[in-house]
Subunit: 103 residues, 2 copies
């Protein structure tokens, strides 16, 4: 498995608009075969921050999702609202609650 | 919802032993009402590191889990294998793939 965690920072005042887009994007991924988890959170200490946690079958599945038309459309709409990315961590998920179907 | 992400560092050479214990602990949490996700990963760049991502109904559910006899037993067995904790992030999960049942 392949996992990612990191912060997406919205342009000042644009977090909620960006959140709507990201939550809809998560809906699009619901039926994507290689996407296991895609959790969107807000940062209590950063009014512009959005944390994203992702778990994929492998790195290829993650890369493949970026080529989806629906994901490309999300990226195009979201890009002007994004100030930057930080705190990115990559890891190898082994299991636990939420991954029972994939172990 | 309440979320946590952070690194647990094993004593040198003890990561795999600690991993076994943590994965069993995740099994114990499977039927715990307020635990939504509990994902255990390894860090490709740190042979002693274990990343843990958790999503709970609220902070009280997380605290409540620490009082479970099974979790207390895990903590007692794991403690001597743990060198420390770092990179802890707390957040508020809003939704996405893996949280459909809880939104």
């Amino acid at each position: 498995m392949y996992g990612l965690f990191g912060k997406m920072k919205a342009q000042p005042g644009k977090r909620d608009e960006l959140l709507d887009i990201m939550l809809k994007s998560a809906d699009d991924l619901r039926d994507f075969d290689g996407c296991y988890l895609y959790v969107i959170s807000i940062a209590p200490d950063d009014p512009d921050g959005i944390w994203i946690f992702e778990t994929w079958r492998d790195q290829e599945a993650h890369r493949g999702s970026l080529a989806l038309e629906s994901v490309q459309a999300v990226i195009a709409v979201a890009r002007p609202l994004i100030a930057g990315f930080s705190d990115r961590v990559e890891f190898t998920p082994l299991g636990g609650k939420g991954l029972e179907s994939y172990q």
